[in-house]
């Protein structure tokens, strides 16, 4: 199944919920509407055989010139044991009130990955059963991997940013 086939199948099934597709890069991908990602993923798993979520990454697309300030979530899908079945899904979210449907019901591994994305980027995964910080302490303020993140000057009496 080529990326072309996958993209066309997705388009045929979900229509305009597939916002865009780019197939001539290293990892061919489709951009999906944030709230439909769960059903798209369920379709990918059940119908196309992507039973394995390789990686779920949060991204902050804000560059130095601040031409854009979107957040994104990238889903790298694969299959076990068929290693040739690869595809990528992306969702682009607004910076404030970033909300995306959870896929933890599709792949259980998404549970921790989504918690990490929430912890690091503040992306709200709607429907996640336990959306708490996973790597940072529970009372940590801010989301560390956002480009505009400033590390706190003090945390429980431990000083930081001291020159």
């Amino acid at each position: 199944m080529t990326p072309q086939d996958i993209a066309s199948k997705l388009k045929a099934k979900f229509g305009d919920k597939i916002v865009a597709e780019t197939l001539d890069v290293h990892d061919p991908f489709c951009q999906v509407d944030p709230m439909s990602i769960a059903e798209v993923c369920a379709f990918m798993k059940d119908e196309l055989g992507f039973n394995y979520l390789r990686c779920l990454s949060g991204v902050d697309y804000m560059d130095k010139k601040k031409t854009t300030d979107d957040l994104g979530v990238i889903y790298h899908l694969g299959a076990i044991p068929d290693a040739s079945l690869l595809f990528c899904l992306k969702v682009i979210l607004p910076r404030t009130g970033a909300k995306v449907a959870t896929v933890e019901n599709v792949w259980s591994t998404a549970d921790w990955h989504e918690r990490e994305a929430w912890d690091m980027f503040g992306i709200d995964f709607v429907g996640h059963h336990n959306q708490t910080r996973i790597l940072c302490a529970e009372d940590w303020v801010g989301h560390a991997l956002r480009k505009d993140y400033k590390s706190p000057d003090e945390y429980h009496g431990i000083r930081n940013n001291v020159v």
């Binding site: 902050d60 790298h76 290693a83 259980s108 591994t109 996973i134 790597l135 940072c136």
Partner: protein, 384 residues
């Protein structure tokens, strides 16, 4: 509110309850680092478990957004510090993939040799500490005796024993001379009979089999669902190895097997199977090293197409390698500068350990230790 908080809330005012909440870690001899599991027990039987991670978090990904590509390599050593060569390799390959460069053949061979040696060292530590978790202290020292030999070889090659920073973008840091290659060959000859010694010490031990067989069974469906890879997935009976299925570097040139768990002592996917997969993978690694040693030819050990400050073209790519613990992936977004725009590390142990609570349910307290040990976690890459 997390499950454990709910457990705690329901505990108050309930004196006669038989359940006990045990906090295992973050400082505990068997959590293999600063890892915390909260287990709810009924007598000796675990009714529920919840893992807490992040005690070693240092935001590796943020650091990589602030230093250039070459400078980020040493930080990858600290991810899975027991198999730093594999981390270097994965990172270097992800950058090389964005840059579309071919690296010289000799460099690839050297990469394979050091990575497989590193894998042997990592599995030796996993097996040794696993024996210790079960209560057998002696195999640990035997494993360390041989791991020491691997580390000496790697130290001779690159001057470091743990955090090598050897596999660089575009090749390797230094060439291997003939003496080093000979050392590797001698190690392979020395190591094969040693594996039988571990078998006598641990594998064939009745108590060890009793303690690991039918314990912590992970079904194939569960393993895939939770994104487990590496020996944990193969222990559940699924033949999946990126070196074989999606050959990178030169792995398509070598003849080796992918060992999978077959439920030899109990059920497929139990702790014993995961242990056995590691045991056999060491043999396969030795085979690969031997083949690489016989095939390697003289040539450049790094490409001259890559400058000191590499600047990959704009784009993104997810590159994965088979590390000792499973699929180590780097998702790299480049904006065309000499610094990564975003580097996401998909660490195998992170996914592997997320299935822990499923495996612990219904086990005994002693089994929790056996299960954690069989997952072979390294907190450096879980917490990143």
């Amino acid at each position: 509110m997390s499950e454990v908080n709910q457990m705690q809330a329901s505990k108050q005012g309930d004196v006669a309850s038989e359940e006990m909440l045990l906090n295992m870690g973050p400082q505990h001899p068997s959590t293999h680092g600063v890892f915390r599991v909260v287990i709810k027990t009924d007598g000796e039987i675990v009714t529920d478990a919840e893992s807490h991670i992040g005690y070693l978090h240092r935001c590796f990904e943020k650091i990589c957004e602030n230093v250039n590509y070459t400078m980020a390599t040493p930080y990858t050593d600290r991810l899975d510090y027991l198999m730093a060569m594999g981390n270097n390799l994965g990172y270097a390959m992800s950058v090389e993939r964005l840059m579309d460069v071919e690296i010289p053949e000799r460099a690839s061979y050297i990469r394979v040799i050091v990575t497989e040696l590193s894998r042997i060292a990592s599995h030796l530590l996993a097996i040794g500490t696993y024996g210790m978790d079960i209560g057998a202290i002696t195999p640990f020292l035997y494993c360390f005796r041989d791991r020491e030999k691997v580390l000496t070889i790697l130290e001779t090659i690159c001057g470091q024993r743990l955090n090598y920073n050897y596999v660089r973008i575009g090749g390797v840091a230094y060439d291997m001379d003939d003496a080093m290659l000979k050392m590797c060959g001698e190690f392979c000859k020395y190591f094969m009979p040693r594996v039988m010694e571990y078998n006598d010490l641990l594998t064939y031990n009745g108590i060890f089999i009793q303690r690991t067989a039918n314990v912590g069974i992970l079904t194939a469906e569960q393993a895939i669902d939770f994104g487990c890879t590496g020996p944990v997935l193969r222990g559940s009976g699924i033949k999946r190895d990126l070196r074989k299925d999606a050959p990178y570097s030169l792995y398509d040139r070598f003849d080796f097997e992918v060992p999978v768990g077959a439920g030899e002592a109990g059920t497929v996917g139990d702790c014993f199977d995961r242990y056995m997969v590691r045991m056999r993978e060491m043999i396969e690694s030795v085979k690969i090293v031997e083949q690489a040693l016989s095939q390697i030819e003289a040539g450049p050990f790094k490409t001259d197409k890559i400058k000191a400050k590499p600047k990959p073209s704009k784009g993104d790519a997810y590159t994965a390698v088979e590390n000792a613990r499973g699929e180590l992936g780097f998702y790299l977004i480049s904006d065309g500068s000499d610094t990564a725009f975003r580097l996401k590390c998909r660490s195998p142990a992170f996914s592997n350990v997320s299935v822990l609570h499923e495996m612990c349910r219904g086990a005994m307290v002693a089994d929790v230790v056996a299960i954690i040990g069989s997952l072979d976690i390294v907190m450096g890459e879980i917490d990143r």
